[in-house]
């Protein structure tokens, strides 16, 4: 133990008993202590510790805190993993150069000036092939935006293709593809198509001009991207009519109106856009028999007719995300998966099930035979204790509500009184049950899971009893809402943990204070430390202002 109160060393420690108990942040104090002690345990680092006696903090406390820290660190790790994935998704995607898709056709070139016959869509996987907006360089006439010049050129910057069904992957491929694959079995754009395209391209040019004027400090890359998007949408709309398919008579509009709707909601669509879309739609509608209906879920096919040099294909979710489509193989597997889960979680009734249940019960009975079944096993005891704990907190919550309620008339008052009495009765019942459990544990020496909680816990939560094992939906409407939800969840979890730790601390530390006899400075320091641990939990400190990233 240190020398007298004024013994050298740790100024902080020695000042503590003299000054009023100011809110020296625990971290700061502890920081000094940490510096003094190194790892915090053992050793006799003299400085800073003289005044404080080394108490044997019960190992349970340490274990609990360390567990909490570990759990927190684990969550942080998982979050960071998710963050990495999401951040990567939102950056530019690059095609994997060393990985040529098996069905990549060699392209034949000419991209300039030829109206591309738009391919029919037949295969099952959509491949996305893009022209990168040339960032920082003026859109050249040959570039994607340049195709607006001569009319009749398919005004497309996007080319979405199909591959035969082998590869389930969708990848941005280098280079616009075109041609053989793209060429529809039998079709060249009719004059009518060309006329429509011309109309559209003119409107597009106008839109581009408008957009150019409008676009501000979004930066060079913003403007082209917006343009590209605006080009894409009407272009894709335009692509529908001339598309050939073997299936006549099916309306193309199924692809477009939802698209159209979506396009308008995508940020910053101007009026020209809307007009374009309506033009496009009308074109579609007019298309009657010609209408090319792609297979459901298939999207646009267009070539990138531009003569732009092969740009490294960059794709960003922000610009082109709406054009993604999941591969067919995956979709099939996913829908089969949900179908199977639905089947599995539905409980059939019928003779066969009854017979099975009977057989099972009989088997269980036979297993049990010869032993007095102590109905209570450790897992059940634990589960029930958990339920009673929940009961306690719900009862308390309800009590709080009743006590703070303000009855306006005697009816309500009476209601309140009855409720409180009822709560008391229920609390008594719970207590009684708990005592029964305690007796059972003692009597049967029911050993709980020696290393911690049993996985009986999951059964109480996971899906809540029988049915649904596949996830249900949680609908949110804005990022703000999602953030609120998530932070509230964390906050509730934190509070739960804080309360738990508080109880443990109380149970372990208060006795320390009361049993310390030498009421000298060390004891006071202990008091102070205990106070900071127990009473100064900063409830507000964890509140974080929601910041939109």
């Amino acid at each position: 133990e240190g020398a007298g109160p004024s013994g050298g060393g740790g100024g902080a420690a020695n000042c503590e008993q003299l000054l009023p108990l100011s809110c020296c942040p625990p971290a700061a104090r502890a920081g000094k202590a940490r510096a003094a002690e190194g790892a915090g345990a053992g050793g006799g680092a003299p400085r800073g510790r003289r005044g404080v006696d080394r108490r044997c903090v019960p190992p349970r406390l340490l274990a609990e805190l360390r567990d909490a820290l570990d759990a927190c660190a684990e969550r942080q790790r998982q979050l960071e993993r998710s963050l990495r994935v999401s951040r990567r998704l939102l950056r530019v995607w690059y095609a994997d150069p060393g990985h040529p898709p098996s069905s990549l056709r060699p392209h034949s070139e000419p991209r300039a000036g030829r109206p591309r016959p738009l391919p029919s869509c037949r295969s099952s996987v959509t491949r996305l092939s893009l022209q990168a907006p040339r960032l920082g360089s003026a859109p050249n006439p040959g570039g994607p935006w340049g195709l607006l010049g001569p009319p009749g050129r398919a005004a497309a910057a996007l080319c979405l293709r199909r591959e035969p069904a082998e590869t389930p992957a969708l990848e941005p491929t280098p280079g616009p593809d075109t041609n053989e694959e793209a060429r529809p079995p039998a079709r060249t754009p009719s004059p009518q198509d060309l006329k429509e395209l011309e109309l559209l391209t003119q409107a597009l040019e106008k839109a581009v001009r408008v957009r150019k004027g409008l676009s501000k400090a979004g930066g060079r890359d913003e403007a082209p991207s917006r343009k590209s998007r605006s080009i894409v949408s009407p272009a894709t709309t335009a692509s529908v009519p001339p598309r050939a398919s073997g299936q006549a008579g099916r309306r193309a509009s199924e692809t477009k109106p939802p698209r159209g709707v979506r396009q308008t909601t995508v940020p910053a669509k101007g009026l020209p856009e809307l007009r374009l879309l309506s033009v496009g739609d009308q074109t579609c509608k007019a298309r009657g028999a010609q209408a090319a209906k792609p297979e459901p879920g298939l999207r646009d096919q267009q070539m990138a007719p531009s003569a732009a040099p092969q740009a490294p294909e960059a794709f960003t979710l922000k610009q082109k995300g709406i054009l993604l489509r999941l591969p067919m193989a995956f979709r099939k597997a996913a829908s089969q998966n949900s179908r199977l889960w639905a089947q599995l979680s539905s409980t059939e009734t019928g003779d066969s099930m009854d017979a099975t249940t009977t057989a099972k019960t009989q088997f269980l009975r036979k297993m049990q035979s010869g032993w007095p079944s102590s109905r209570l096993c450790a897992a059940e005891v634990e589960a029930e204790v958990g339920r009673l704990r929940k009961a306690c907190s719900l009862l308390r919550q309800r009590m709080g509500e009743e006590l703070t309620a303000d009855p306006v008339d005697w009816m309500q008052e009476y209601h309140c009184l009855l409720t409180l009495e009822g709560l008391q009765a229920i609390a008594g019942q719970c207590l009684h049950r708990l005592q029964e459990l305690r007796a059972a544990v003692m009597e049967h020496q029911l050993a709980p899971w020696p290393e911690g909680r049993l996985p009986s816990a999951p059964s109480s939560c996971g899906g809540g009893a029988d049915s649904i094992w596949s996830p249900q939906l949680l609908l949110y409407s804005s990022t703000q809402e999602l953030q609120t939800l998530a932070s509230l969840r964390l906050r509730v979890a934190m509070l739960d943990e804080q309360i738990h730790l508080e109880k443990v601390l109380m149970a372990e530390l208060l006795p320390l204070v009361s049993t310390q006899e030498p009421l000298g400075p060390p004891w006071l320091a202990l008091c102070r430390a205990v106070h900071s641990l127990l009473c100064e939990g900063d409830l507000k400190a964890a509140r974080v202002t929601l910041k939109l990233f």
Partner: protein, 436 residues
């Protein structure tokens, strides 16, 4: 549904049982081969290791296979967090864990406890144990759900997982038993800081998720979802990963089909298990439980008991005063009052019954539980099934308020207690820090 042919003719029986066992072994994740099952009936030693492994996998808190789960926002880590601590467990440790877990679930047969722990014997007993677990609850479905391929971005809406204690304490070397209390303070501060970081990272994650969801609106073939999740977008970005995901999905589908097949055929399995049980030597002696000091379990029990006790006392105090006041007021009222009195009683009784259901067995259905797939939809567009975030937020807020009140109350209690302890000493003045 037509009548199933349940009369098992001998010829058919020969085929039905193997089919059932095959289905089971295909459905169980890491399931042993059908041959193992057959050998186990005859207690062959070569079947034992596979069954030990299987039971270990089934009974250990979290299967070590977490390849299925993409990290999701806000989800708790696997509560018994350290698969690495468990999975390279030696066969001896595995065996011990299996025995212990089965025992605490109430496995009724003593023969299990007597099995040697080197994992070389006991296949028949293990087979019985497996069947026991299968018969008691939806074991198969639970296992499959645990390793389910998650295609969406999921967020749990309840805190059940969180409440579970952090699980087996990793073996820690306590340097020495004496640790300064300031180390505790340091740990607390570190914890708070960790939580703050968590919240910030969480916020960012949600923002990113929101972006991904909104940028891919309209892409999903399933209209009720409307947009891609991170997993799905990843699959598009990274074809190799996409292929792996697809493979996992397909193998899960195969398992699900096997599980459905098992469901159809399991009757014959149970009949067979009866014969296996009959083949066992009868258990003679009275079970004597090995005395063990229950540690954590009893601790929890005591804590809850104390809380309930405190709650009851509080209620008692409040009720006494109020009842006395009420009786004083109402004393002179006439009989017409009785009817309304009874009506109130009935109403209160119903309310309290509803309240009780919230914690009783199987009563948790009212509350939403488990992970939910996040779906972004502009307000009001999707009228379909699904939990609305606003509701969850409301529930969480009320829970938050309740917890804050509870914490404040506890802290107040501590303060009083400390003041009392210190104040009892002459010559000291206890000055509270500002703001407390």
């Amino acid at each position: 549904m037509g009548r199933r042919r349940r009369r098992v003719d001998p010829a058919d029986a020969a085929g039905a049982l193997p089919a059932a066992i095959t289905a089971l072994s295909r459905a169980l994740p890491g399931g042993p081969s059908a041959e193992t099952f057959r050998r186990a009936k005859f207690d062959r030693p070569e079947a034992a290791p596979a069954l030990w492994r299987l039971l270990f996998h089934v009974l250990s808190p979290r299967p070590a296979d977490d390849a299925a789960a993409l990290p999701t926002p806000g989800s708790a880590p696997p509560t018994h967090a350290r698969p690495s601590a468990l999975s390279p467990a030696s066969s001896k440790a595995q065996a011990r864990l299996v025995k212990s877990a089965l025992r605490s679930q109430g496995y009724p047969r003593r023969a299990l406890v007597q099995l040697p722990e080197d994992g070389s014997q006991g296949s028949r007993e293990l087979l019985l144990a497996l069947s026991w677990l299968l018969a008691r609850g939806p074991l198969l479905e639970r296992l499959l759900a645990q390793i389910r391929v998650r295609l969406g971005d999921e967020m749990p809406v309840c805190e059940c997982e969180v409440l579970a204690s952090p699980g087996p304490p990793a073996p820690r070397v306590e340097a020495d038993g004496c640790v300064d209390i300031r180390h505790l303070q340091w740990l607390m501060g570190k914890l708070r800081f960790g939580w703050r970081n968590l919240i910030t990272s969480q916020q960012e994650h949600c923002a990113l998720l929101g972006k991904v969801h909104s940028y891919t609106r309209g892409c999903h073939s399933d209209r009720s979802l409307g947009h891609l999740s991170v997993t799905e977008a990843e699959l598009l970005r990274d074809p190799e990963g996409g292929r792996q995901l697809l493979r996992r999905l397909e193998s899960e589908n195969a398992r699900l089909e096997a599980a459905l097949e098992w469901r159809r055929r399991e009757l014959v399995f149970w009949q067979w298990m009866d014969t296996v049980l009959d083949a066992c030597p009868p258990e003679a002696s009275q079970p004597t439980f090995l005395p063990r000091i229950p540690e954590r379990g009893a601790g929890e029990l005591e804590l809850v008991a104390r809380e309930l006790q405190a709650l009851q006392e509080e209620l008692q105090a409040v009720v006494e005063t109020r009842r006395a006041a009420w009786e004083a007021r109402v004393g002179g009222w006439g009989p017409g009052w009785k009817a309304t009195q009874r009506a109130s009683e009935e109403a209160v009784r119903q309310e309290l019954t509803a309240l009780q259901r919230a914690w009783e067995r199987g009563g948790g259905l009212a509350q939403p539980h488990g992970p939910h797939r996040l779906v972004r939809s502009e307000a009001g567009t999707l009228g379909g099934p699904g939990l609305r975030a606003t509701e969850v937020i409301k529930a969480l807020r009320s829970r938050e308020a309740c917890l804050e009140a509870a914490l404040r109350q506890l802290q107040g209690q501590c303060r009083q207690e400390l003041a009392r302890l210190v104040g009892a000493l002459p010559g000291f003045i206890w000055i509270l820090p500002p703001g407390c």
